[in-house]
């Protein structure tokens, strides 16, 4: 069954990519969509089998690398953790595949687009089913590649290419950390198989590793290095700058890769390594603090942005922050729970935004929207559902998952848990505010778009709305239905996630004070009310407020100047260094190396051609000279007369 999950997307990719031309657009769409839908159905079956039924297992595919003590296999590890990921990936991917058929209907390279989506799906599945770090790394790089290709899909746009390169380079920093973590793991355990690592982790709790000439607590070091990898892929504060720019890609890509699946790979990685992190408390503190800061900072930036996709992108980043501080307080189950619900409502929001953009003739600036709720009522209703889930309003999916995270953070009773809790509450307020700011600016108020655009507004076709309904169902029900399985008293995780007795915050979270449980809802309602005040009842208020707190607004509107800082610190100096090397290469290496050799060859050739005069007597002369020369050589050498 697990083969039916992983390989149909690969086959679909190969077919659509290699034979896209002969299959035609329709054929390619059919092949790729059926590939992921088969995968989705199989993974649901597998979910009931493994998660509900009992224990996981590993299917060996083939040996990959064997060299000395080092041996790695291609394998599919199917346990509760990977099966949850499989479901999320394949279901969202199916929705996005089908949605793309409608969304990309005006594009010229449909087969290429669909094949990249399938490639991404395959790589992501390889990542989550890995039973060793190398296969995980393979999938990790594979999703990075697919992400790069899809962000830069409209490669005629300069900004898209720049964004693709930025995403790739920033991720490279994280990948470097992951690779170092992999090496460190091998150095410590002598193996990169998960089973071995997790079994031996408790015994290694006190060992040390030497790194840059200093001795470090081994598991903390590995944990931090792996977390650097996770930060890159999951856009945590510091390595987050690529995610907003990645919105240059087509909207279905943003929904699939930059909201629902790839960016959660970091969360999955830390959850997968829970048996190791449990013995590296320092690393967990770092995870908590970084996650909490990300949740807060991203939310503040989200308040001020005008591009509809960027607002949702910052919201994604903020929600990822929630997941990370949940991991940091050992509430792995809660993080996975939020990962799952978030995938549904965030994909819904993105695809809904795509539907709006589609209706508005590719306009993304919310300042040029407004007053369109009655023209696209279905999209409008679906966006409400997504926003309610995001803001954590009762009985929607986000309510259950976000609350358990905040409760777990509170229940940790540590300074970092407390910090994360209050940062999370602040972020929740802002989340509600910017979500309704988005809704009000986009759908209400006076129409601010041109007449031409307004006359074109139309509801999206069924092929785009269908997937939205599927996701909306998830956004409404997923929290309520899966609460017990993910974070209940008898959660399904078994060996897949390991939590030490002392760190069991999820159990403790069920016994927090009443005000902690109810605070997020109250805060959320206040956020919505504020948004109503600012954007519906007193439309002049936002401008006045901005004037009041000018410096703060500048800071937020410019995204805390991260890009400018990096540009000054790294990008400019790299370019300078690059120019220096380029000049050296051109002026020294090329001039005396390849170019010099080629020039000399031409000179020799010209010289030899000059000998070839065409006169027989000269040819004869050369022959005679050669004979005399050879004889002279022997005379000279033997020093002997006749």
């Amino acid at each position: 069954m697990e083969l039916l999950v992983v390989f149909p997307p690969l086959i679909a990719f190969l077919l659509a990519f290699l034979f896209g031309k002969s299959l035609g657009d329709k054929g390619a769409q059919l092949v790729t969509c059926s590939g992921v839908i088969i995968a989705a159905i199989s993974s649901i079956v597998l979910f009931f089998d493994v998660a509900m039924g009992g224990h996981g297992y590993t299917t060996l595919l083939a040996p990959w690398v064997t060299s000395g003590d080092f041996s790695v296999n291609w394998a599919l590890k199917v346990d509760q953790l990977s099966v949850v990921m499989m479901c999320v990936i394949t279901i969202v991917s199916s929705c996005v595949h089908v949605y793309s058929v409608g969304y990309m209907s005006h594009d010229d390279a449909k087969a290429r687009f669909m094949s990249y989506l399938s490639l991404f799906t395959f790589a992501m599945l390889m990542l989550v089913t890995a039973d060793n770090l190398l296969q995980l790394f393979f999938g990790w790089e594979g999703v990075g590649l697919a992400s790069y290709l899809l962000i830069g899909f409209w490669n005629q746009k300069h900004s898209a290419n720049a964004a693709a390169i930025k995403a790739f380079v920033v991720n490279r920093v994280g990948d470097f950390g992951l690779a170092l973590g992999l090496f460190a793991t091998f150095a410590l355990f002598g193996s990169i198989e998960f089973t071995t690592i997790f079994e031996e982790a408790p015994e290694m709790a006190d060992s040390v590793l030497s790194f840059f000439g200093h001795e470090f607590h081994a598991l903390t070091l590995i944990g931090l290095l792996l977390f650097i990898g996770a930060m890159g892929k999951s856009a945590q504060l510091g390595l987050h700058t690529w995610l907003p720019d990645a919105m240059e890609g087509p909207t279905p890509v943003s929904a699939l890769i930059h909201a629902a699946t790839m960016v959660t790979a970091g969360v999955f990685l830390v959850a997968r390594f829970s048996p190791l992190y449990e013995y590296a408390p320092t690393a967990l503190i770092v995870v908590t603090v970084v996650g909490a800061c990300t949740a807060f900072v991203a939310a503040t930036i989200g308040l001020t942005q005008f591009d509809i996709k960027r607002v949702i992108a910052y919201s994604t980043m903020s929600q990822l922050g929630y997941m990370f501080f949940a991991l940091g307080v050992s509430a792995y189950g809660a993080a996975m729970f939020h990962l799952m619900t978030h995938a549904f409502f965030k994909a819904l929001l993105f695809l809904g935004a795509g539907s709006v953009i589609h209706a508005m003739s590719d306009e993304q600036d919310m300042r040029k929207m407004g007053g369109i709720y009655n023209k696209i009522p279905i999209t409008y209703a679906l966006m409400w559902i997504g926003s309610l889930a995001l803001a954590g309003m009762p009985f929607f999916a986000g309510y259950y998952s976000k609350d358990i995270i905040l409760e777990a953070a509170f229940a940790d009773h540590s300074w970092w848990g407390e910090f994360a809790f209050w940062m999370g509450i602040a972020a929740a307020l802002m989340t509600a505010f910017y979500s309704w700011r988005l809704l009000f600016m986009t759908f209400h108020g006076k129409p601010r778009a041109s007449k031409k655009v307004m006359s074109h507004i139309h509801e999206s076709p069924p092929v785009m709305l269908g997937p939205l309904f599927v996701l909306a169902t998830g956004a409404v029900l997923a929290g309520f239905v899966f609460y017990e399985a993910f974070v209940g008293h008898h959660a399904m995780w078994h060996e897949a996630i390991k939590v030490l007795e002392a760190n069991d915050t999820i159990t403790a979270a069920h016994h927090v004070p009443f005000w902690v449980k109810k605070l997020p809802i109250g805060i959320g309602l206040i956020g919505i009310a504020l948004a109503y005040l600012f954007y519906i009842s007193k439309p002049k208020l936002p401008e006045a407020t901005v004037k009041r707190v000018k410096p703060l607004h500048t800071l937020l509107f410019n995204k805390w100047f991260f890009d400018e800082l990096y540009d000054a610190a790294f990008v400019k100096s790299s370019f300078k260094l690059g120019k220096l090397f380029w000049c050296t290469d051109k002026q020294v290496v090329d001039r005396f190396g390849p170019d010099g050799a080629a020039g000399t060859s031409n000179k020799i050739a010209a010289l030899l051609s000059r000998f070839q005069s065409g006169y027989v007597f000269q040819y004869a002369l050369v022959m005679m000279i050669a004979v005399i020369g050879l004889i002279s050589w022997f005379v000279f050498k033997t020093g002997q007369g006749f």
């Binding site: 010209a606 040819y619 050669a626 033997t638």
Partner: protein, 480 residues
């Protein structure tokens, strides 16, 4: 001892009779008979080959030590016959198209072949000279065969004058050898030289002259000056013959001279061949860069290839000689394919010779372009083509015998020469297409091209078969 065993010479005798018979037929029926005579000659060459395969390949010396037959000679003769069959098949239609379809053409090819067969069999300086001159005189005439073309006539004259000079050198060298050893028999020369405690300088003097004469025949630098002019001027079908067959014969004869009569002069001739080999590689690699005529380019290419082959001679080991024979075999088959393509470069019955005429060939006739690309890659020695293995065995032998400098310079020269082979590919595949060539390609030419390309591509699949026979041939020279 009366010894009148003619059996080992049966192929030569048969071909000579056929040639004389065909001459009479030609005289009787005139140029109408050209086609018949040509195909009959091909047929006769094939029969000669079959006859030779049926002979006893152990060592035989016949006619009072005049001729010799053994595995090495047999292997060489097979190559010569294969090359002649190929070259003649390529010519049949071509000489008609070029308006030179006279019946003497196939007969001259036949005569030249007989000359080559005799010279590699020679076991005596006299027999050597007779065979060499028979082939040379036939080839002089062939070079000038398109007599209404000034270029062809010029090529014939140049070849003749310089060829005469080289024959003179050869004869002068032979006379010096005779003066010091008192014999013209290979075996006796070898015995006499082997028993000397001290090598008279006159013998070395003679050796230099003999080798100069031989180097002219294989067009090794610095005795190569005639090659580009003659290759360019002669009709393409004749150039194909020049490039393929006489070189095999001459290099085999050179090897026999060096190992049989001059075996004890190894120290001296190694220096000469070393120099000639190195210079040939350099000239072949560099001078070709400046060429824009493809026949001229092939001339320099052949000079370079002779340079590589001579590395195998210098190293004076069994591995070296078997590498040379293998190299010659691969070179012969590759060259046949290349010339089959060059002959098809025609527009409105006019032959084209410029490299720029290949421009955009991949669009007009992809089959020709891809075949040419394969052959060029093979010539450049890029794996997995046959040409790579030719060079590999040569360099391997050189390294084993500790001729490191020669091997390194050889590899460097082949890097330089890769430039002009790859340039042809670039012109065919990346330059703008011009008018297509005449579509019709005669059947025989297609077959030759097909065999050549298949050989080049498939050599890697089962190299042992051919390598083993080359080794068997080389072994003979080292058991005596």
């Amino acid at each position: 001892m009366i010894d009148f065993n003619l059996i080992p010479l049966l192929p030569e005798i048969f071909l000579a009779l056929v040639a004389m018979g065909l001459l009479i037929v030609g005289v009787g029926r005139g140029n109408e008979a050209t086609n018949t005579v040509a195909w009959f000659s091909v047929f006769a060459l094939a029969i000669a080959m079959i006859v030779m395969l049926g002979l006893n390949w152990d060592e035989h010396v016949v006619l009072s030590g005049m001729f010799k037959f053994d595995r090495f000679i047999g292997f060489t003769k097979l190559l010569i016959l294969v090359g002649s069959i190929g070259a003649l098949s390529l010519s049949v239609r071509f000489i008609k198209q070029m308006d030179m379809g006279r019946f003497e053409y196939p007969i001259l090819v036949l005569m030249a072949t007989i000359g080559m067969l005799l010279m590699v069999s020679a076991n005596n300086m006299l027999a050597l000279y007779m065979g060499l001159e028979l082939q040379s005189l036939s080839l002089y005439v062939l070079a000038a065969f398109r007599r209404n073309s000034i270029k062809s006539a010029e090529a014939g004259i140049k070849y003749f004058v310089l060829g005469a000079l080289s024959s003179g050198m050869l004869l002068f060298g032979i006379s010096l050898i005779y003066g010091f050893t008192g014999s013209i028999d290979f075996t006796l020369i070898a015995d006499t030289l082997g028993n000397l405690d001290f090598m008279p300088f006159g013998v070395i003097f003679g050796l230099v002259f003999v080798l100069a004469g031989m180097a002219f025949k294989i067009s090794a630098a610095p005795f190569h000056m005639w090659t580009p002019d003659v290759y360019q001027g002669a009709p393409t079908s004749v150039t194909a013959l020049f490039a393929m067959v006489p070189k095999v014969a001459a290099i085999a004869l050179l090897i026999r001279l060096l190992y049989e009569p001059f075996g004890s002069l190894e120290e001296q001739w190694q220096q000469i061949i070393y120099f000639v080999s190195l210079l040939s590689m350099v000239v072949g690699a560099f001078a070709a860069i400046a060429q824009d005529n493809i026949k001229r380019l092939m001339a320099y290419s052949s000079i370079g290839h002779m340079g590589y082959a001579l590395i195998g001679v210098v190293v004076a080991s069994e591995a070296g000689i078997s590498a040379v024979m293998l190299y010659m075999l691969i070179y012969l088959l590759m060259t046949a394919g290349v010339f089959a393509i060059l002959m098809s470069m025609q527009r409105n019955q006019v032959s084209l010779e410029k490299i720029s005429d290949l421009s955009g060939l991949s669009q007009n006739s992809p089959v020709l372009a891809y075949s040419m690309a394969v052959l060029m890659l093979s010539m450049a020695g890029i794996p997995p083509m046959a040409g790579f293995f030719g060079k590999l065995f040569i360099f391997q032998a050189a390294v084993e015998a500790k001729f490191y400098i020669l091997a390194v310079l050889g590899v460097l020269a082949s890097v330089v020469s890769a430039y002009y082979y790859l340039r042809i590919i670039k012109v065919m595949f990346f330059d703008a297409a011009v008018d297509p060539y005449d579509a019709h390609i005669p059947f025989a030419r297609r077959v030759v091209l097909l065999i050549s390309v298949i050989f080049v591509l498939a050599f890697i699949l089962k190299p042992t078969l051919i390598v083993a026979s080359a080794q068997g041939a080389a072994a003979v020279l080292f058991t005596g």
